[in-house]
C-alpha cells in the first residue's frame, strides 16, 4: 500500500513541478523570446520571486501557478506519509 501511496505522491509532485516549469518557460519565452526559452532552462524559477515578477509585469496574479504548487505540496505530503508507513 505504501508503494502505491508513494507513486501517487511522487506523480502529483513531479507533475506539479513539470506544470510549474512549463508556466515559467512560457512566461520567459513571452518576455524574452528565444533567449528566454534558453534562460528558463539555465535558471530555476525563484518560487516566490517569479510569481511576484509575473504579477508586476503582467498585472494578473498567477493563481494557476499557486494552485499547482499547492497540489505539488499535497503530493509531497502523501509521499511522506506513505514512506513512513513502509
Amino acid at each position: 500500500m505504501g508503494t502505491i501511496g508513494k507513486i501517487i505522491g511522487y506523480i502529483l509532485w513531479i507533475g506539479a513541478g513539470i506544470l510549474m516549469f512549463i508556466f515559467w518557460l512560457m512566461a520567459m519565452s513571452k518576455w524574452l523570446g528565444f533567449f528566454g526559452v534558453i534562460l528558463s532552462f539555465i535558471l530555476a524559477p525563484g518560487l516566490v520571486i517569479f510569481p511576484l515578477v509575473f504579477w508586476i509585469v503582467e498585472g494578473v496574479f498567477p493563481t494557476f501557478y499557486f494552485i499547482v504548487w499547492g497540489i505539488g505540496i499535497v503530493g509531497l505530503i502523501i509521499a511522506g506519509i506513505s514512506s513512513k508507513n513502509d
Partner: protein
C-alpha cells in the same frame, strides 16, 4: 527465581473485513477507488442534472444508493476469496503446468479486449481512461476465472504435465516480476490524475479562478 505469569486470555481474533483489507491491500485499494469513482462521480453528475446510467437504465436513485455499494462489496469478497486460495508460488506453478491453456487465454484476452472496450460507453478524458481501466480489470479477472476452470478440468483429464518449455517458463517468470509493479504504477497514475483534477477544481472554486493568467500567453 524467575516468575512465570500465565494468562488465560485467548489471542484476539481480527475482524474479518479488516483482516482481509490488511492482507489484500492492492485489491482493496483498486475496488475502493473504482467504487468511489463510480458512486461519487455518478451522484455528482446526477445532482448536477447531467445524464447518468441511472436514467439510461431507468433506475431509481434509491436503488443506485443500495445496489452499487452492495455490488462492489460482493466483488471485493469474491476477489479476495479467490486471492486467498492461491499464493504467488502456487499460482506460478499453475501457470507452468498449463502452458497451452495460458497461451490460448492470453491470446483470446488480447484479441477480444479492443471489442469489449469499443462496445462500452467510456466517456471522455480522464473518465475514459478510468472506465477503460475498470473494463480491463474486470475482463482480466473473468478470464482468470475461466482459465482456472479450464486448468481444473485439464488436471482431471491429464494427471501428468504434458508440455514444458524453458522459454515459456522464463516468460512466466518475467511476467510475475514486471506485472505487479506495472499494475501499481498504472493504478497510482490514475488515482494521482483524479486527485490532481479534483484538487484543481476545488482550489479553482475556492479562489474563483478564471484562467486569466493563462490567457496572457
Amino acid at each position: 527465581m524467575d516468575e512465570v505469569i500465565i494468562t488465560s486470555e485467548a489471542p484476539r481474533r481480527e475482524n474479518f473485513f479488516l483482516g482481509r483489507m490488511r492482507k489484500y491491500q492492492v485489491l482493496t485499494f483498486t475496488l475502493g477507488f473504482l467504487f468511489l469513482f463510480r458512486f461519487v462521480g455518478t451522484l455528482i453528475f446526477y445532482f448536477a442534472g447531467q445524464s447518468t446510467f441511472i436514467e439510461q437504465f431507468g433506475l431509481s436513485i434509491g436503488f443506485f444508493l443500495i445496489a452499487i455499494p452492495v455490488a462492489y462489496l460482493a466483488q471485493w469478497l469474491v476477489a479476495t476469496w479467490v486471492a486467498s486460495k492461491y499464493t504467488r508460488e502456487k499460482l506460478k506453478e499453475k501457470f507452468y503446468r498449463h502452458p497451452i491453456a495460458t497461451m490460448i487465454f492470453a491470446f483470446l484476452y488480447v484479441t477480444d479486449l479492443p471489442y469489449r472496450l469499443s462496445e462500452s460507453d467510456l466517456g471522455g478524458g480522464l473518465f475514459k481512461m478510468i472506465n477503460a481501466f475498470e473494463i480491463i480489470i474486470y475482463y482480466a479477472f473473468l478470464s482468470f476465472l475461466w482459465w482456472l476452470l479450464i486448468c481444473w478440468i485439464s488436471e482431471k483429464i491429464w494427471k501428468k504435465q504434458r508440455f514444458m518449455w524453458e522459454w515459456y517458463k522464463k516468460v512466466v517468470d518475467k511476467i510475475f516480476v514486471f506485472l505487479p509493479p506495472l499494475y501499481k504504477f498504472i493504478l497510482g497514475l490514475m488515482v494521482a490524475l483524479l486527485i490532481f483534477l479534483l484538487l484543481f477544481v476545488l482550489m479553482a472554486g475556492v479562489f474563483n479562478y478564471s484562467g486569466e493568467d493563462l490567457q496572457k500567453f
